[in-house]
């Protein structure tokens, strides 16, 4: 692996993404076995450092670590000393003092994982930094797409919803572009970032045209707190313009793969009848999440790392 940490997928090498995906498939086989545990990271200590609420990502990481036989510790901001005014730096240095091997961090501020590398020698894996990146989610999305289609190069992927506030979108864009996929963004103009063309993607506000074009839709969560903040008029308006409903899909006579990084707002950005249908691979994404995170941890901590530098 070229980089010692996984901070984001911007400028992350295609061959390393490929090798993570390949390794994820190997681990997925392990997850299908009756005994789902391998000794690869036996003796390694990993801290899951979560400054922001997360259930799914944290459990997915924790499970991946346990399947690899690593020792894990969970640290979440609500139970931590941060409320007592301890600084980010102190928290980091305390962890460092306890001789750990890796930190999986979620933080509400863009750049926080890079910031952590200044204070700590352990390997850092970004589990989401504000509205910046969420690289492991993008890797599991790519693993799922690769599994479904057999290829990523030339694949037409639409990302639908709140792009501006989405770390999932940004990491998916970087990763998929690197792997040669085509991307169209679709969502309200107030939730598409300015200068988005610089990311090498198309923007189309007409969801029906996007459905016609795409091989797969990655439907993002619309956070209810965006409503009324001047960005979106109402849930009804959003559903009318961008909601992935059964009625809308039935107007298009085509095979289409539906993804969602979760947690879903059923009845807002996606209907239950779509989310629970055969064309949705949402639960498969969850399993691939564990396999992909096993692959990432294995390659960065135990396996074939060539001690690359960042």
């Amino acid at each position: 692996m070229k980089h010692r940490h996984l901070l984001g997928l911007k400028d992350y090498p295609a061959e390393d993404i490929k090798s993570i995906i390949d390794t994820a498939f190997t681990f997925k086989e392990v997850l299908e076995r009756p005994i789902k545990k391998v000794p690869s990271l036996n003796g390694k200590t990993i801290v899951n450092l979560f400054f922001e609420n997360s259930t799914r990502t944290r459990i997915s990481f924790e499970l991946a670590q346990k399947r690899l036989s690593a020792d894990t510790v969970n640290f979440s901001a609500s139970t931590s000393s941060l409320k007592k005014g301890e600084t980010f730096k102190d928290t980091a240095q305390n962890l460092e003092a306890m001789k750990i091997d890796a930190v999986v961090m979620r933080h509400p501020t863009p750049g926080a994982p890079l910031h952590l590398t200044k204070y700590i020698d352990a390997i850092i894996i970004n589990a989401g930094d504000g509205t910046h990146e969420h690289p492991t989610q993008a890797i599991l999305d790519m693993t799922s797409l690769h599994e479904k289609f057999g290829y990523l190069k030339g694949l037409k992927v639409a990302i639908i919803g709140d792009i501006s506030h989405s770390r999932v979108a940004l990491s998916n864009i970087y990763g998929l572009k690197t792997m040669g996929a085509e991307i169209t963004l679709c969502g309200p103009a107030t939730l598409i970032p300015p200068f988005v063309e610089d990311l090498g993607v198309n923007v189309n506000y007409n969801v029906d045209e996007v459905i016609e074009w795409a091989d797969a839709l990655n439907v993002l969560r619309i956070q209810r707190e965006r409503m009324g903040g001047g960005l979106l008029p109402s849930i009804r308006e959003y559903r009318n313009l961008f909601g992935i409903t059964r009625e809308r899909l039935s107007q298009h006579n085509k095979e289409l793969v539906i993804m969602h990084p979760g947690p879903m707002n059923r009845g807002v950005e996606i209907d239950s009848s779509v989310a629970d249908s055969d064309q949705a691979i949402i639960l498969n994404q969850v399993l691939n999440g564990v396999a992909s995170r096993m692959a990432i941890l294995y390659l960065l901590l135990g396996g074939k790392s060539e001690g690359g530098k960042d």
Binding site: H107, P110, A112, L114, G130, T131, H132, P194, D198
Partner: protein
Amino acid sequence: MDFSKLKKQVILKGGKILDPIENTIKKSDLVLEDGKIKALGKFNSNKSAHLIDCKGLIITHGFCDLHAHFREPGREDKETLESGSMAALAGGFTRVCVMPNTNPPIDSPEVIRYIVDRSEECPIYIHPIGAITKGQEGNELTEMGTMLSEGAVAFSDDGLPVTNSAIMRNALEYGTMFDIPIINHAEDLCLKQDAVMHEGKVSTHLGLPSSPDLTESNMVHRDLSLTDLTGGRLHVPHVSSSKSLDHIRIAKRKNDKVTAEVTPHHLFFTDNDLQKFDTNLKVAPPIRTTSDQKALIKALKDGTLDCIATDHAPHTIEEKEGTFDLAPFGMIGLESCFGAVNKVLVKENNLDQLDLIQMLTTRPRKIMGFNDNLLDIGVNAELTIIDPNEEWIFSRADIQSKSYNSPFIGQNMYGRVKYTICKDHISVI
């Protein structure tokens, strides 16, 4: 930096005297006696005089900064009038106007008097800028007339924009009685929201909350229109965007009461430099694009911008070593100013050395009404001596401020302040 009292007689030998008022550079020695300019010409050393070899160096007026934060009273852990003075001397500045966002704010004749009295003991000349409104709250005008008689030189609510257009109008109108500059930090806070950087290609990649250049230029445009309406005097601080320059350029064609400044950091850095999330580059207004940077340089050349001001803003390391969202806005800038702007403007963009010196001396002094010629015989020596060609790297050791939140640390500099003479003392840098 070595700081000591001047000897009774000092001979600055072999340098060039750059006179920013007469627009001349000529070889001459300069003799100081009892801290005053005694004579220019050619002089031989004598036993009792302190001889300073100025070969290859330029001797000129002490620099004047229109925009600095010395944090006193209230945040003496970040800077004091003394430590700020030492930072100024290290940067070649002998005269600094300090902003009123202290605690309590400089919003009354009493606090103006406090700053003026405290400054008497400081090794540079410090001039307080009073707040436009009481408590910088944007509601009620301060006692400008009385504050001026106590020593205020201008008015500004500093980092807090005067958002209420009626109050801004009143400030400009009231200010016409005194012919002093009204300085408004131009940012439309509604448009800015929680932004921490410029909205552009880079912010889209970094995912940081951002706001567009209009955040500044809309308010600059409003202030220029109100200046037009009232006949007041407006000084636009730390202009950062090309769009603001367009408005200022047009306004200046018909209104000679408009002036504007630019900071070294807006000239030196672009938003690309934020890729590493360096909190020292978090500043308001934000560092903008390469094309804004080019426009600022052009605007200094064509006179749209009058002068350079540092917006020296000390913050503690504890505040700046946190994450990007929590870090306060601002960076220090006095010590690094000359090496940075001389590099960008003179070395890289062919600005005349004399023009640059004017942007640091006569032009800011004129805005504040400091019009005396510092090279006249008999005046108190207030001089800066520079090596215009020294290449060096700015480091922590070059900082005299109590704080060291500087993105210039590690940057290549061109041209360096060697000596600063002020109030009968000499700083050897």
